[in-house]
């Protein structure tokens, strides 16, 4: 292409790109860089504390802060349900990819939780988890004759994580608020975007591969293991990466609507902690530092996923 022609195309191209680019600059990149700067300061909305650049002090402080690590553990714990959610999405996608009558209606039904208001769902789940009158405990009692857990009111958890320090204790072993949020999260995620991605990926698998497998005498399981699963590897990789990112950033809505971060801080995640620090305790500098640590964690985990996970993408 001649330089003059290229220049002629450059101006309209910029015209099309500029509005979006300006929006990105002002509303995304700008605030992100601003928060990086703020994380190196002691900025507090209560103006009696003179503004000062304090270098890495916020970062060093939070690394030795018990609270930060407790909420980090909470965040990690709430991600335990991720494999179940991904496996469930795949299973559901496999079912919904069958040629059945009314399949569109089924797909819509399973996708319903994703486009239903999150707050409405959380309020509904809160009622389901009611320890005395909730249908979940009623079912447990009916099936086993035992009283169900106290769910959102309990600090107990399956690993026995301590409430006040990072560590394990038998006293906390059981089912509690964190587990309740995990179950709800898995239920929401199974019929969500991961299922849609798997559905799309399943339709893209060449039929010849299945035909070849059939000719070779492969059974259902062998076909899945040797054809479907490897063909879904890029999608699975993408879903795993996105789930990690979502999981590390998650927990805010549930804490805000269902538990207020309790009982005793057991459902406070890093995202909710950032909100509390910045907008309830007014420590903007410190909250920005936590945000950046969270970003670094997400970045490192994504890199690890990329480094090791992408090896499995064999085509």
């Amino acid at each position: 292409m001649r330089p003059r022609a290229r220049h002629r195309e450059f101006v309209p191209a910029m015209g099309f790109l500029l509005p979006n680019f300006l929006g990105f600059l002002v509303f995304t990149l700008g605030p992100v860089l601003f928060s990086l700067g703020v994380s190196l300061s002691n900025w507090n909305l209560q103006r009696t504390i003179p503004f000062e650049w304090i270098g890495l002090e916020n970062f060093l402080d939070l690394l030795t802060n018990q609270e930060f690590w407790l909420y980090f553990v909470n965040t990690g714990y709430l991600m335990i349900g991720m494999p179940a959610a991904i496996a469930g999405s795949l299973g559901l996608a496999l079912l919904l990819s069958q040629r059945l009558r009314g399949i569109v209606a089924y797909r819509t039904l399973f996708y319903l939780p994703t486009f239903t208001s999150g707050v409405a769902l959380m309020i509904l789940w809160k009622a389901l988890y009611n320890p005395s009158f909730g249908p979940i405990n009623a079912a447990i009692e009916w099936l086993t004759g035992l009283h169900g857990p106290e769910w959102l009111l309990s600090t107990a958890n399956l690993l026995g994580l301590d409430v006040e320090q990072v560590g394990l204790t038998l006293k906390q072993w059981g089912l509690g608020a964190r587990d309740a949020l995990i179950i709800m999260g898995v239920w929401t995620a199974i019929g969500g975007n991961s299922m849609l991605l798997y559905l799309a990926a399943l339709t893209n698998i060449p039929l010849e591969l299945y035909e070849a497998a059939q000719i070779d005498g492969a059974g259902r399981w062998q076909t899945f293991r040797s054809v479907t699963w490897p063909q879904l590897a890029p999608t699975t990789f993408f879903i795993v990466v996105m789930s990690f990112i979502g999981g590390l950033q998650g927990g805010f809505d549930q804490a805000r609507v269902m538990t207020a971060g309790g009982p005793a801080g057991t459902t406070t995640t890093l995202a909710y902690y950032i909100y509390t620090k910045a907008f309830q305790e007014f420590q903007i500098g410190y909250a920005s530092a936590v945000s950046w640590v969270l970003f670094i964690m997400i970045f490192v985990i994504t890199l690890i996923n990329w480094r090791f996970g992408s090896r499995e993408l064999n085509y």
Partner: protein, 449 residues
């Protein structure tokens, strides 16, 4: 597809026209619009309507979506804050003042002959007064008493409680009023109490949250621990108050305050610790026969006082106009309305000493208003320390109280842990803030001498 797009476009156009047609009409020209960030309820709307009627040159609009101190501070600093906003406690006021968004109205109110310290209930002072200056006017003032359900008392053959009593006397009555059904489920509890009232228990046992000078958290004193322990004992030892699980089983949503009010209204509790403002909800239960009596006390006869104040955004271009709203709050019309609505008590003391306050002709059954007025005289506001962020301290106490409420810790264990954490936060705060450091040093040296 083309048809579908056309239908969608026509549909959207029709909806836009409908939305345009039903949009609220702009107010008449020349009126000054003031935005008040407060909670939305019928009483608040009536208070605004009265002001707009009395002052036709202004139009106050309610903005419930932006309530919460964090939103107010961030928006006001960003230059898009409301003209008027509410303040619920001493710490919030200090945050507003330190953030530079609360307008010091001491001189302006003095010119209008208004003096908060002279006119209003002392329990409401921390919401409006900060370090000797006035930053708002109390919207209302409140304290806790015991509400009782006369029908439950009658059914149990228990005489109505009267006057001053201790918790020991109270527990006996509450036990007799806690009635279980055959299956073991509790039909009604003897007592209902929201846990945010915990400072009242601490002060009734002679405890404090902070030392006199505010430099130390002393919530781990034996007195404070005893107060908190009583709260736990009311659930697990005396079995007169619902545990968190039992509470969840009967919780109902909506209304002002908490589910406790609707729970009490539905006859699930014989007595409840609450304010006069509960009436805003309880009046909706036409068959509820109510009584009220002074709250029980511990070794000390003190009660928790609280309230709300309305402040003016220092950065508002309409702050002079907003001042008219504060003057309205100091006047008779507003105070009479508050008493009539039962939105706690009128902020100005003298308007609570009227015959209409004691016997509102519209509510002849409410013969207990003197109880609130008498308690207000000895009500004390929650303590705060200038050396610790009240929200940080609140979060620490809340976490420990959750453990007490769940029966995982005793009052003493929880308060000891809380006091240690609050003291750590005090140390952090004075390390960060030079002005606090100077003040802290002066006070601690004075104490040492």
């Amino acid at each position: 597809m083309k048809h579908l797009t056309a239908v969608a476009l026509v549909g959207l156009a029709i909806l836009s026209l409908v939305a345009w047609a039903i949009q609220p009409r702009p107010v008449a020209d020349g009126r000054i619009i003031l935005t008040w960030v407060s909670d939305d309820n019928p009483a608040r709307r009536e208070q605004i309507a009265l002001f707009n009627r009395l002052h036709p040159e202004y139009c106050v609009e309610l903005d419930p979506a932006n309530s919460g101190s964090e939103k107010v501070i961030v928006q006001a600093i960003g230059g898009v804050g409301p003209d008027l906003f509410d303040c619920y406690d001493g710490f919030q006021l200090s945050a507003y003042v330190k953030s530079g968004i609360a307008w010091d109205v001491t001189d302006e109110l003095a010119k209008a002959g208004i003096d908060v310290a002279r006119d209003a209930w002392p329990a409401a002072f921390p919401n409006a007064l900060y370090e000797g200056r006035t930053y708002g006017f109390p919207t209302n003032a409140g304290c806790n008493a015991i509400w009782f359900n006369k029908d439950i008392f009658d059914r149990c053959g228990e005489p109505y409680p009267k006057g001053s009593w201790t918790w020991a006397e109270f527990i006996g009555v509450a036990r007799r009023l806690t009635v279980q059904e055959e299956g073991g489920r509790v039909r009604h509890f003897g007592f209902l109490c929201d846990w945010w009232n915990w400072p009242q228990f601490v002060s009734q046992w002679g405890g404090r949250l902070y030392s006199e000078d505010g430099t130390r958290c002393v919530a781990d004193s034996p007195e404070a621990c005893a107060g908190i322990q009583l709260m736990q004992d009311l659930i697990y030892k005396h079995r007169v108050m619902p545990s968190p699980v039992e509470e969840a089983a009967i919780a109902t949503a909506g209304g002002w305050g908490s589910g406790t009010i609707t729970f009490f209204g539905a006859g699930k509790g014989a007595m409840a610790l609450g304010g006069r403002w509960w009436l805003c909800t309880l009046r909706q239960y036409p068959n509820l026969r109510l009584g009220a009596v002074e709250s029980p006390h511990g070794p000390y006869r003190v009660f928790r006082g609280y309230g709300r104040a309305t402040c003016i955004n220092k950065n508002s271009p309409r702050r002079a106009a907003a001042l008219e709203f504060l003057k309205y709050m100091a006047g008779k019309d507003y105070n009479d309305l508050i008493n009539h609505q039962a939105d706690a008590l009128a902020p100005v003391i003298r308007y609570c000493f009227t015959p209409e306050f004691l016997h509102d002709p519209e509510y002849p059954a409410e013969d207990f208003n003197a109880v609130w007025r008498d308690i207000m005289k000895v009500a004390v506001p929650d303590q705060i320390s200038p050396f610790v962020n009240g929200n940080v301290a609140g979060r620490i106490f809340e976490k420990q109280l959750d453990l007490v409420k769940n029966g995982q810790k005793t009052g003493a264990e929880a308060m000891k842990a809380a006091a240690r954490r609050v003291d750590e936060e005090i140390a952090k705060a004075i390390d960060l803030d030079p002005s606090l450091r100077v003040r802290y040093k002066a006070l601690t040296e004075k104490a040492r001498l």
